[in-house]
Amino acid sequence: MTCEQARIQMLGGGEGKDFAEHLASCESCRNEVSRIGTLWQSLDLLPLEEPSGKVRDRFYEMLGAYRQGLAAAETRPVRHWWTAPAWQVAAAAGLLAAGLGIGYGMRGNGQPPAEVSQLREEVANMRQLVALSLMQQQSASDRLRGVSWAYRAEPSDREVLGALVTAVNHDSNVNVRLAAVDALRRFSASPETGRAALQSLSKQTTPIVQVALIDLLVDLKNPEAAPELRRLSGNETANEGVRQRAQWALERLQ
C-alpha cells in the first residue's frame, strides 16, 4: 500500500491488514493517523454552542430602537411568536445540530477526502516547488535553505529526491553537498536513495562529504556498499579519516 492509498483509508476510518502493515512501516502516516484522531476527538468534545447573553442584549437594543421609530405610527407593537427568546434559542440549537449532523454524515460515508487530500496535495506541491527552486539558486546560502525545505517534502517525492542527489553529486559548495547528504535520510525508504549514495561515494573527493555518505550507507545497511568501501579503505591517496571510516563501516555492514 502506498502513502496515497493509506491516506484515503485514513479519512474513511482506516481498517484492514494492508493499512495496518503500512502504518507499521511508515512514520509519517502514523503521525497523520494520530493527528486526524486527535482532531475528531476534540471535535466531539466541543460544547454545544449557546447564544451568549450579549446577543440577546444587542437584539433587544436594536429592537427597542426600531420600536421607538415605529412608536408614532403604531400604538400596539405586534409580537410574533418567533421573537420569543425561547424559540430563538431552540432555532439556534436546531441549526447547530443540523450542521453537526451534516458534518458527521460527510465524514461517515468515506467520500470527503476529495477536498482534504486536494489541499494536502497542494501543500505538498508548494513545498516541492520551494525546495526545487531554492536548490537552483546562485547563492549557496539559498541552496542550503532549499535543502532544508526538502525535509518538508513527502518521503515519496521523487523530484525532490532527484534534486538532492544532483546537489550531492554536483553542487559546487561543500556545505550544500554535506547538507544534501543528510537530507537524503528523509527518503531512506526509497531503494534509489541507497543506490544514489553509493554511486556518489565513488565520485566524491571532499573528505567530510565522503564520511557523511559512508555513515548514511551504514545506517541504510546497504550491503552493496562493501566493494566500494573496501576500495576506499585501501586507497592510499584518500584522506586518512575517510579510510578509517570506510574500514569501520565495512565491519558494521558485515
Partner: protein
Amino acid sequence: MNRFLIGGMMVALGALQTPAQNPVQNPAQNQNPAQMTVAFSNPSQPRKLVVKTMMHRVTIKGYDGKDAIIESSAISERRRRERNVPPGMHPLNVGGGGIEVTEANNVVTVSAESFFGGGDIQIQVPVETSVTVNTVNNGVSVENISGEIDVESVNGGVSVTNSSGAVLATSVNGKVTVALDKVAPGKAMSFSTMNGTIDVTLPADIKANLKMKVDNGDVYTDFDVKVTNDRFDTTQSNTEKGVRIRGNKTTYGTINGGGPEMQFTTFNGRVLIHKK
C-alpha cells in the same frame, strides 16, 4: 571582458586591454608595482569576487571604494621580468606561478591554480560584495564583508571576521573561525571541518535553528540554547528481521526562539558558539 594574465602567460599586459568598456587602470600607472585595480562593469548591480588558488594565502578586505584591488608578490615578480626583456625579443611561456584576473558580468575572478609559486594574495573589494574563495594549501581570511561569503580550504584555516553576510565555510584540516557583527535575515549558514575546531561568534539577539554534528568532540556555548531534538534525521531500512529505524548523530537546538538553519559539522574537532 578585461583579461590580465600575469606570470609566464602573456607578452605584454597593455596589449590585452579590450576597448575600455570596463575601465581598468593601466598597471604601469599603478603606484605600487605589485598592485592591480579592476573595476566592476556595473557598480550598481550586485558584485561578486571569486578566488581560486592552489598555493597562496588569500586575504580579502571590504573597503570604502568601488573597484577590486589585487595585490600579490607574483604581480611584482612578473613586472620585474617584463622590464628585463631584451630589445626586439619577447619572453616565452615558461615557468608557472601566475595569477589570472578577469572581470565579466560584474564577477571579478582571481585564479592561481598552479602548483608553483605561493605567497600572499591580498584583495580589497567594496564591503557589499559576495565572496567565493577556494584554496588548497593555505588559509583564507575575509574581513568586513556584508555580501554572502563562501570559503573553502583544504589544508589551511578559514577565518571570517567583522562581517555581516551569510557564511558557508569549510576546511579539511584547518580551523574554521567566523565572527559576525550582524546576520542577513533569513539566510541559512553552514560551518564544517574534518579535523579542526569550529569557532563561531554570533550577535546576542540572533534567532537561529542549530544543527550540530560532532563526532569526536563537544559543543560549547554561552548562548541559552534550547535543545529540541524534535526533528531527527532518521533512516529506515528493511532487514530480514523487519524495519529498522536509526537516528542520526545530530543534536538540534534553537537560539532566541529559532530562525534560519545553522549547521555545524566536525569529525575530529569541537564546536564553540560564542555570544558577541
